[in-house]
């Protein structure tokens, strides 16, 4: 497969996944803001979304205050914000457009229709119809595109690069959400009563609330949430699950110079496979997650160098 084609496929799936994760995060924050709380606490949650995506500078340049309406506008429909859902859907479609000969007609039509529909919705229209409905729509469109991929695409290299993009993006997002929310909810490892609604929201943002109930059949504790999102290998949005997939997929597409990247993934995977939540918390969750995110980032760089960017020895 052409390196450039693989690159487009990889980024196409990353942007779809990013749009979905953003919709999940915003949806949960929006729902939480409907639970009685102080204005300060509410705005702190909205602020966290900007911080989570390292967008403080771009946001401050455009909006005076942090509040629900501004942050939603910025993250949902702002065409100037490269990280908005609007732009994620646009970029997913643009990448798909560049490889529409490689993906199936159904996949292309799904992404193209998603973008055409997103383009038609103004922020006012989205808010009037209910922003929750919009987030549902984004999640459904993401599911649809994942479904058409699974249901129609030959499972060759194209599929593997799509899968790789999805899993790396998802791992990064889960780690980010956990990192930011954990510290908003439990500053300095406070052992006091945990806020059921806040932790519940965090779980819902990664579709893990019902999973948690099923797995633990018990009250929500931060340790178990951490364990679920990092170490459970059967939870589709956990770090362990994502890295399982990355290791397997890399084995399938390995080439003569991808050895080092595979070794790095193997190492990371082993930590999740044999790790214990007590050790992670003892080490410091924030430090552990920062390190994980750095390594995910390096991994993306390694994959890019090994497969996606023309090899230098060629020229």
């Amino acid at each position: 497969m052409l390196s450039r084609t693989a690159d487009h496929l990889f980024w196409m799936s990353r942007y779809i996944e990013r749009a979905e994760n953003l919709a999940r995060l915003l949806d949960v924050t929006w729902q939480m803001s409907l639970v009685p709380q102080s204005l300060d606490a509410a705005n702190q949650n909205w602020n966290a979304i900007i911080a989570l995506n390292s967008l403080e500078e771009a946001y401050d340049a455009k909006y005076a205050a942090v509040n629900a309406e501004n942050v939603l506008n910025f993250m949902v429909r702002d065409a100037d914000n490269q990280a908005s859902i609007y732009n994620c859907l646009r970029l997913a479609r643009e990448n798909a457009h560049a490889v529409r000969g490689t993906i199936t007609t159904e996949m292309w039509e799904t992404l193209n229709a998603t973008w055409l529909e997103a383009r038609e919705k103004s922020f006012e229209q989205i808010m009037n119809a209910g922003v929750g409905e919009f987030f549902e729509w984004v999640k459904m469109r993401s599911s649809l595109s994942r479904g058409t991929t699974l249901g129609t695409l030959l499972q060759d290299e194209a599929y593997h690069f799509i899968r790789l993009g999805t899993l790396l993006e998802r791992a990064d997002n889960t780690a980010r959400i956990l990192d930011v929310k954990y510290h908003v909810l439990r500053p300095q490892g406070d052992e006091g009563a945990t806020d059921f609604y806040q932790w519940g929201a965090l779980l819902r943002s990664v579709s893990a609330f019902e999973v948690y109930r099923k797995v633990y059949r018990d009250v929500i504790t931060p340790e178990r949430v951490t364990e679920l999102l990092i170490l459970r290998d059967d939870m589709p949005r956990s770090l362990h699950f994502c890295m399982n997939g990355v290791v397997k997929t890399l084995d399938l597409i390995a080439n003569s110079h991808s050895g080092e990247t595979q070794r790095q993934v193997g190492l990371l995977h082993a930590q999740l496979h044999y790790g214990r939540v007590e050790d992670i918390l003892a080490h410091g969750l924030h430090e552990w997650l920062s390190d994980f995110m750095d390594r995910i980032y390096m991994l993306g760089g390694g994959i890019s160098k090994d497969f996606l960017v023309p090899m230098s020895e060629a020229a």
């Binding site: 497969m1 450039r4 084609t5």
Partner: protein
């Protein structure tokens, strides 16, 4: 002016080959047709069968209007046209081989040598290079119109990177999806095997010694107006769609960058103009092409389809000589007519043209896409004056032809069904001795009342083209 109507005869009766369609149209409720037309529009949008228009905002994609009244060609008419196309394209390929080798036709004085050798489209780098099967224009799009009482004329030969074949195929697919009952009643010759035929031709012209050639389609990229077609053809043929940056040349061999390392490429169906193919030889500022590809080509390690330098045969200044080529190389009389053409570089013909501008169509010799032309009868006084000055300043840059009374065909327009002018572009494929085409081609229709310009960049639409089998 009286126009030949493809569907109706002079007395208002329906021509025999349109009888079936006419019956169907009369029997079908207008609501059903309106619904189907809306359905077609939606489907074309969703599938993204669009084209970008130059000069408009980047990424602005437009739909080419599709009309549900087909252009029907009776079998006998097609057979004769097909014979004429074979003959013409064969002669054009022989001409190209000749002008880059022994130049017999110039020596024989059939075409003034300076017209060929000083032509900007003549590529001296191609001199003495032997191509597989001696084929230059593997894919030719020959524009044919019907005029006057019903005779066909070749308007131009497109031998560089003719486009539009994807619309031909999608129009048929759409027609069959919307109105399957029509195909049950008519014996419409199928066209869907075009990509197979194209792949077979491309494989047949691979460099000598390559038994299982790797074929690719080379596109300028996603913002090119015909990008949809590039992806469509690559996908239909099951080959890679590459951009210049995906290819590189090492030791006069072309490779593509893949996830598993470099892979050798043998045949390139390129949809990039000569000028942009190799920055080391042609335009140095081009980032679309591949540095060094011309050396690989000259060394015979890769086949380009179409070849470099085909423009010298489809240039409008050479067009008037095509009938002469057919006589010279094949010893036959041309089956298809040329439009009588005034070469403005000749002083007496220029004088005639300047005296008759309001009746003539003036075309830029190197122009394409319906840009830079004057349609005398439809032009304003100011436009005519502007062209007069252009002609006086640069007579050898223009040719002029009588305004043809292009045939028309009933077409859905806002006010209902009305006649609109059309042309036909069959796609002729060549490899070695074999010249083939699928029946029919792309029918383009000018949607503006009275307009004679059918190019999609000028607001033209398309129709499905039916060649009826006996």
């Amino acid at each position: 002016m009286n126009f030949y109507n493809e569907m109706m005869d002079a007395n208002g009766g329906v021509r025999a080959h349109y009888k079936g369609y006419d019956d169907w149209l009369k029997a079908t409720p207008p609501e059903r047709i309106a619904r189907k037309r809306a359905e077609a529009d939606l489907a074309f949008h969703r599938v993204g069968i669009t084209f970008a228009v130059y000069g408009e905002e980047a990424g602005n994609e437009r739909l080419i209007p599709f009309d549900i009244i087909p252009r029907v060609i009776p079998s006998a008419e097609w057979k004769s046209m097909q014979g004429g196309l074979r003959q013409r394209v064969k002669a054009l390929n022989m001409f190209l081989h000749d002008v880059y080798h022994d130049q017999e036709i110039l020596k024989a004085g059939k075409i003034p040598a300076e017209q060929v050798l000083n032509n900007a489209q003549y590529r001296p780098v191609m001199k003495g290079i032997d191509l597989p099967g001696q084929i230059y224009a593997h894919i030719a799009g020959v524009d044919i119109v019907r005029a006057g009482a019903g005779e066909f004329y070749v308007l131009e030969d497109n031998l560089r990177v003719p486009s539009g074949v994807s619309y031909m195929l999608e129009d048929r697919k759409m027609m069959m999806r919307l109105f399957p009952e029509l195909f049950a009643k008519h014996k419409v010759a199928p066209v869907q095997h075009y990509p197979d035929m194209l792949l077979e031709k491309l494989r047949a012209v691979a460099p000598t010694g390559v038994s299982d050639p790797t074929v690719v389609v080379l596109t300028p990229g996603a913002y090119n107006s015909a990008y949809f077609e590039h992806t469509f053809l690559a996908k239909q043929m099951g080959v890679e769609l590459v951009e210049g940056r995906d290819l590189f040349v090492k030791d006069e061999v072309v490779y593509m960058q893949t996830t598993q390392g470099p892979q050798r490429v043998d045949v390139i169906y390129r949809r990039i103009d000569d000028d942009f193919m190799d920055p080391l030889v042609f335009r140095a500022d081009s980032s679309l092409g591949v540095p060094g590809i011309l050396r690989a080509y000259q060394a015979g390690n890769v086949t380009l389809a179409n070849a470099i330098g085909t423009g010298v045969a489809d240039d409008k200044s050479i067009y008037p000589y095509v009938p002469e080529m057919i006589r010279f190389y094949l010893g036959e009389e041309p089956t298809l007519n040329n439009v009588p053409t005034h070469m403005c570089r000749k002083p007496d013909e220029l004088k005639y043209v300047l005296d008759h501008l309001p009746e003539l169509v003036v075309k830029e010799v190197h122009g394409a896409g319906g840009y830079g032309m004057l349609v005398g009868p439809a032009a304003s006084k100011a436009e005519i004056e502007r062209f007069r000055q252009l002609l006086i300043a640069k007579p050898d840059g223009y040719i002029a032809q009588p305004t043809l009374a292009l045939s028309n065909c009933p077409t859905f327009v806002e006010s209902g069904i009305a006649p609109r002018h059309l042309d036909l572009r069959p796609f002729v494929l060549s490899s070695g001795k074999c010249v083939e085409m699928v029946p029919g081609g792309l029918t383009r229709v000018a949607l503006t009342e009275g307009s004679l310009v059918v190019n999609s960049s000028q607001g033209g639409g398309t129709k499905d083209t039916w060649v009826l089998e006996d």
